[in-house]
Symmetry: C2
Subunit: 120 residues, 2 copies
DNA sequence: AGACTTTGTTTCAGTATCGTATCTATTTAC
DNA sequence: GTAAATAGATACGATACTGAAACAAAGTCT
């Protein structure tokens, strides 16, 4: 069954995760960049610039820039669609997978603060 | 009992919340700004520039900038400490409280996708 | 009083991102 | 084959953020 999460607990979780993430050497991604990255990894492909712009409700150049940035970081990569060479498919990378796996662990750790007391 | 949250579930939650947040007219806060905002609202005061810089492990000018930005948005406000006029206390605002309450509701809604009444 | 410490802001050059409009490349329609 | 439509990238001027260093203001110490 899905757990019940109160608004206060939810915000508290979000705070711990954000702080833990910021404290690391992780690049300071904006909400848009994070939303794009997670969408590429967690929703079924293909992912195009136009499609992501629609999902995130932002302009196409904004998506292009976010993909540029995440590409520089090695988190995603571009690939021209073979069947419609106008389109660009945004794909996952090994580095991005590792980053998100660690990030998931960060969330899990932040959601169970009672277990053990190691806070740094 | 504390709910068990798997890494995949955690990332999935994060994705839904980030996307929902980005889709709104909400300003595109960086992870640092969000971490600062949440820390001001969810951890006991007082909150100083120096203290926040330590908590977030960023430079003091970075905190000043984030407070500038969040102040422009009406999310936090500054107040000189009466007892040590060198210090600046970063305090909550009504607008920030409203924003975070709504954000908490967004997280709760994203964590209970089974009751899908509407998706916008 | 004077020197020193602490706090936060400002300056600086450099980089990143923004939205709108324009551009190139590709596909489709006629 | 030529025009229209589509997808994504780029140009543009504007704004925001970066860390390091210098700064002003306020407190502390002797």
């Amino acid at each position: 069954m899905s757990q019940k999460l109160s608004p206060v607990e939810a915000l508290d979780l979000w705070q711990r995760v954000c702080v833990a993430s910021v404290r690391q050497d992780v690049p300071d991604l904006s909400a848009r960049q994070m939303a794009l990255l997670l969408t590429v990894y967690l929703t079924p492909p293909p992912h195009t610039v136009r499609g992501l712009a629609g999902i995130l409700n932002v302009s196409k150049p904004a998506v292009t820039r976010a993909v540029d940035r995440l590409g520089e970081l090695g988190m995603v990569k571009r690939k021209v669609d073979e069947y419609d060479r106008r389109s660009v498919l945004i794909q996952r990378t090994v580095k991005g997978s590792v980053f998100l796996r660690e990030f998931g662990d960060t969330i899990v750790a932040a959601s169970a603060p009672s277990s053990d007391v190691n806070s740094d």
